[in-house]
Symmetry: C2
Subunit: 180 residues, 2 copies
């Protein structure tokens, strides 16, 4: 799988999503996140939901490791697993602390419909999907993240880690290497 150097199949899938792709990667949310002007209540709501993806995402990525064809295919996914369970996981924990959002408060907030839907999709594909289906689900996550982060990274205001660190986690050569 190579996206950056242009695997035709993933490029075709991207093209078939039409304007929806651009709506995702140029959303008001990502612009305000980079500018640091995002309403912190909006950011908090987002992070509470997004943190719930993390666990399902780890399950899916670990299943890709287990089902990949060779050790050399498994290695980059293992390194990425370590990254998201360290730097990315502590980003959430530090944000919740700085926002005074306790784990008790978080437990009272129900899943948004898209959280339920997407987490279920990730877990189902991890359990019963083919390697190709697993890769399709994970590629669309990470490629859209990279695309929005890449668009805003040069104008990101670096005052508050709760905004700029989320851009940094999804841009730069290390993350681009993961997606490719």
């Amino acid at each position: 799988m190579s996206i950056i150097t242009g695997t035709r199949f993933t490029e075709k899938l991207k093209a078939s999503s039409g304007e929806q792709w651009n709506r995702v990667v140029t959303h008001r949310f990502t612009k305000e996140l980079a500018a640091g002007t995002i309403d912190r209540e909006v950011l908090k709501k987002y992070l509470v939901q997004d943190h719930r993806f993390l666990d399902a995402f780890v399950v899916l990525l670990a299943s890709i490791v287990a089902n990949a064809r060779s050790l050399s295919d498994r290695i980059p996914a293992c390194q990425f697993l370590a990254l998201i369970t360290a730097k990315e996981n502590t980003y959430f924990e530090r944000c919740f602390e700085s926002m005074n959002c306790s784990s008790e408060e978080r437990k009272t907030i129900p899943d948004a419909a898209c959280t339920t839907g997407f987490c279920n999709l990730m877990r189902q594909v991890a359990q019963n999907g083919t390697l190709g289906e697993m890769l399709s689900v994970i590629v669309v996550c990470e490629w859209t993240y990279m695309s929005w982060a890449d668009l805003v990274k040069d104008v990101t205001v670096r005052e508050d880690f709760t905004t700029y660190e989320w851009v940094d986690l999804h841009s730069g050569p290390e993350f681009e290497g993961v997606v490719s």
Copy 2:
């Protein structure tokens, strides 16, 4: 699961293996490895076979990540996956280079019976086993490794990385944390 602080079940399993455990962790191989006196042809044979476990081991550990009960249970296994696919994998690659053992030569060497048997066990448990079965298989690997490495680490001769690095990879607080 906590071994070092004394989960009774794993202690009982260990006790039920009787003298076999001690034979494993005090084998002539590990003493000569630590002394640096091991016949390099014996070491090479061992490393060729042991490198074949690595891939099956990664599959098993990734399956444990995917099947663990919570994100906090998954995190240490993800960090260990990153370690064995980086430092441990390059240890093998550097050894084979220093021993002039090309990948072509390695392909001509058949699996030892125990390699076939144990790799098949790891892959089968990863695919069809319960979480408990997966943990049983992986614990016995890493706990015996830690036990022999712990016995020899203080007398290890530090002249040739092909011998001492294999001890270092299986001793010390970081590895002890993984096993626990």
